[in-house]
Subunit: 214 residues, 2 copies
């Protein structure tokens, strides 16, 4: 029964996602939907990315969280237009939530819109929000078994950002296994190794984004 419910929700969602996508295209904004487990470092990555690209692209952010405004405050302190969505109980952003808040952003002035999804490795992969691409973050501290356990997330993403690479010496994670299993699920996946703490790998990641948003 539950599967049928999800299917109905997904069909309605996809129609609204297509509307959002048209709106973004007309405004000339490239849209990235960032997904990860809780605590993998999505907001930190957005902060690093903004610092790297702020003089090259006009960036806006939509923050998705169950509750709280911590993340939006962090982005706002960088002088970036930001909207916080609180989903209440919902474990993912959907197209309707995005549709309801886009008017709060100066869409026509932006080149690049970053949407930070709710921390969750399952449902965010199932719901389109009108993005040009999905990317996912995986913290090295989460271990090397995630691709085979959460396959849809890896299949739906254009890029995989391996974050907290500075913790690699202190964990048992095998980074080659992560890459091999990820490529087996999605041979076209672009993989970046970064540390938002040390700055390692951020320039390459930002350069790639700039080429897409240009």
């Amino acid at each position: 029964m539950k599967v049928r419910v999800v299917t109905n929700i997904l069909e309605a969602n996809d129609r609204i996602a297509a509307e959002n996508r048209k709106l973004f295209a007309e405004a000339g904004v490239y849209v990235m939907n960032i997904m990860s487990a809780p605590g993998a470092g999505k907001t930190s990555l957005i902060e690093c990315t903004i610092k790297e690209l702020n003089d090259k692209l006009k960036i806006g952010v939509i923050e998705g969280d169950i509750a709280g405004t911590d993340d939006a405050q962090r982005i706002e302190s960088l002088g970036i237009p930001v909207v916080q969505i609180n989903t209440g109980g919902a474990c993912h952003l959907d197209a309707n939530m995005i549709n309801e808040v886009v008017a709060d952003l100066p869409l026509k002035d932006l080149d690049f819109l970053i949407i930070e999804n709710v921390g969750n490795l399952v449902c965010p992969a199932e719901f389109k929000v009108g993005e040009d691409m999905k990317v996912m973050l995986l913290s090295i501290a989460e271990g090397d078994d995630k691709p085979l356990k959460y396959p849809l997330m890896f299949q739906e993403s254009s890029a995989l950002i391996l974050n907290k690479i500075d913790l690699l010496p202190y964990t048992n994670a095998n980074i080659e296994k992560i890459k091999k299993d990820s490529f087996s699920l999605n041979p076209r996946l672009k993989i970046f190794e970064v540390s938002c703490k040390t700055g390692e790998g951020i320039v390459d990641w930002a350069r790639w984004l700039q080429s897409l948003a240009a």
Copy 2:
């Protein structure tokens, strides 16, 4: 509309959870439902706990994952009765899934049943499965902002296990903030600091479980 759907699902779920709970009580099994984000170390904690309690309690395990049997294989290699549930798309275990697999376990021979939920900080907190208590794991590497972002999980749990405490020197996480915010959401929360890698804190945690299951 989506909220209404979830409500219907939750009502049906609670009825089946009550049936499961009766079944467990009749068999004399204490049931713990473990929840966390992906990669916080649920399976590692279960392994540590089994090694500590194996000569004191008869333990069984139900493993919940979107896909794969890695976790069940790890538990089986310890000589423990285990069932793997693959949820397909569902981001949490529900009471019906548990109801369908209990017959595969030697329930009457067990003292303690550990249910490992799907890695997710949202929906597992909303779905009862017939457990005596929920507990949650938080990896230190996930940062100190999780209690206020995923409040329901902290409110529904009887215990919070702070795992990967060995990584504390290499992160920016403020463990006192985690404790303070967790207690503000749930003053009766029992908090344990452990490392499944070094073994730190496991004896205290296991002793507490033993007192509950006895």
